[in-house]
Symmetry: C4
Subunit: 231 residues, 4 copies
């Protein structure tokens, strides 16, 4: 695995702290090198400040550790299921950021209430169902990933257009083409969740914004004629 990608994973993990998305060790970022099929992920329970490209754990898509002396994130199997099923994503982020976690705990999908949301998420951010006792007991973290993939199939969602999910009773996952974009989506999700809570205090009936404005904002940033940014 390339040193450069590992360095990006270290920086993306550390950016979870500087962005206020994680307390203690409540979050992890991974990235995949699609050529080799190898995934670099945060070691479990290690402080963000202590991360280096050398102490990241590298696993293959079957979950076998191929590099590193530490135990990988306890959420590794969820990351791997996402990489196997969503072939266009390059990085995955898990946090317990406060506002998005509140939506997860409440089991409430996050509707597109404004352009901030439409700039990042093409519609409602959905909630994945709670796992059954059997799923939790047999292979919890793998089943978590499967429940996300099922949800996206059922709702016919494109993972690059909807790079986030809320896990019932748990917390969010986001992803993206690379570690920077995946963390951007975690930040955007947290801010949209925070603003939704206040929007509903002001206007409890507020629902999805008009579709033509949602389309405009999503497409001006992500569509084929996008004109936001420098690329």
């Amino acid at each position: 695995m390339k040193q450069e990608l590992k360095q990006q994973v270290v920086e993306a993990n550390q950016r979870l702290v500087s962005s206020g998305l994680v307390a203690l060790t409540w979050g992890n970022v991974s990235a995949i090198d699609r050529e080799s099929g190898l995934v670099a992920i945060k070691p479990s329970g290690v402080d963000y400040a202590a991360l280096t490209p050398e102490n990241l754990v590298v696993v293959n898509l079957a979950g076998e550790v191929v590099e590193g002396d530490l135990r990988p994130s306890s959420d590794t199997k969820t990351h791997l299921e996402l990489y196997r099923s969503f072939p266009n994503i390059g990085a995955v982020v898990h946090t317990h950021s406060s506002c998005a976690t509140a939506f997860s705990q409440a089991g409430v999908a996050l509707p597109c209430l404004g352009t901030t949301h439409a700039d990042h998420f093409y519609g409602d951010v959905p909630v994945a169902r709670a796992l059954t006792p059997e799923e939790v007991e047999s292979d919890y973290e793998h089943a978590t990933g499967v429940s996300i993939v099922e949800l996206f199939q059922q709702q016919n969602l494109n993972p690059l257009e909807m790079p986030a999910v809320l896990l019932k009773h748990h917390a969010p996952f986001t992803w993206g083409k690379d570690p920077v974009k995946a963390v951007d989506n975690s930040i955007a999700l947290e801010m949209c969740a925070k603003m939704a809570l206040m929007t509903w205090q002001l206007q409890p009936d507020a629902g999805e914004m008009p579709r033509h404005i949602l389309e405009k904002h999503y497409q001006r940033k992500h569509g084929k004629d996008a004109y936001y940014g420098q690329n």
Copy 2:
């Protein structure tokens, strides 16, 4: 365009970050040199820390780039419409600051609930209407500016007395005589919105404060006999 004004635009953009008003690249500041009619604005999607007077984009009031290699902010046409229609303003700010954006998303005008508000905004901060599908499709950012100008004409508002607007489904714009004052108004708007949310939790019926106190606070800071500050 003078180097000094460009430097002020750089610093004003960076102050959006240090004041906690923007996440990611969700905000932009511009300023106009009224003599030449040239406007310096943040390039689109560029990190605030990377801004310099040299990489700002300079456009004329017709929207043509006259200096700079980067693409200007996607909101440039909104800024330009404000400069064309509000001849006394010198700088414009757009953010997605959380509390003011919640008011925008809810479509709720921000009433003057106390002296903090009266020190900056001479009455309710109004909400501009959502744009029609036709407006969004033909020239979205220009139509956004036009909707603000129409609102101020309909409500007979003086842009220097009411240097802020909430865009329905979107977020706020503020402005001022110069970049410092325009960002001051973004900070004041966000704080007033935050305090209004809490005021209404305590007292759901709280409305505009008595007019004589509003007048006093606005005039002691902005009137012809103002005695706030050193000028």
Copy 3:
């Protein structure tokens, strides 16, 4: 006026910023030298970082400037009325801190909901009435001070036991024996207001805590047999 007291006033003003109690220039601290009857106060509209003992304004209790080239805080007359009527206080603080200002705007007194409050304020923090048009027009800042003093007389409050007040439609004032204690009270007031908002979300009927616990906490810190701290 002693240089040491001026230095304390500078540091107390700057601590308003580092404690998150003020945005822009929304706050001021003064202190009185009771021997000479002179008061050092923040100049109006000046950035906190630019304050030095030399650019503070020194006024006498009649409000005449006796030192300094700048205009004193626009709230100076309120400070002076407090010094004249509350002979045991040594410093006064005014902020627009968000949560305490929300209580002020709502006109809701802050009850003693727990020991954090009882450690600093001996009972409910009261709300001073709105001023009449005549009071606002004739001598607004002086009348503000008078309304506080009247309130404390009517409610028979001891200013050292209740070192805070909420001004209707406006914001809080606090005070104390010296600048450090006065700012401590502003911080405590803001935190107690913040916690009250959340307490009432959980339990809308929560009112004053049992009197015997209030007494215990107030007296263990401020009573004649106090055993909190090192003095």
Copy 4:
């Protein structure tokens, strides 16, 4: 008492500030050396930045000062009762962190609404009863500790599985095997309380999450086959 443990107590106290859990001097951490039965605790009312291993106060389990020139935390007797009754704990933390204090003031237990909570607390965080006038008058801080111990006996709680309590009208205490773990629990408690407030805004009926997910998360981190972290 070993210098190393004292150093840990200093750092744990200072981490209360850097984690945003305390304002002013509203919190304290202690640790016990079980071999000697000596407890190192923060001196009362002293700024966190001024703490050193040398100015900590060392007391025995009977509450006698055996080292140090300063007065120990006014909450020392509560700490000592916890050490005497909970023989497996190594450190105790008291804060007035905002959200957990709001739950304390409201007298509302904090249910396990999601996996963040289950990762740290094995069920509801309970509320200890208010003390009677007699208890408050005779030996307040000791009685506080006794009320916690009684509660844990009545509810048959294991202090290492439930390392936190909310004191009615007051604020939380947490503990753990060592100072780092005890402060971790204070941080986790504050975050869970914050997220619960938002969860209930979204879904007022939200109660304890399904027991099988609670079990899974608690056990994967704390059970005999735990696989979270590196130990």
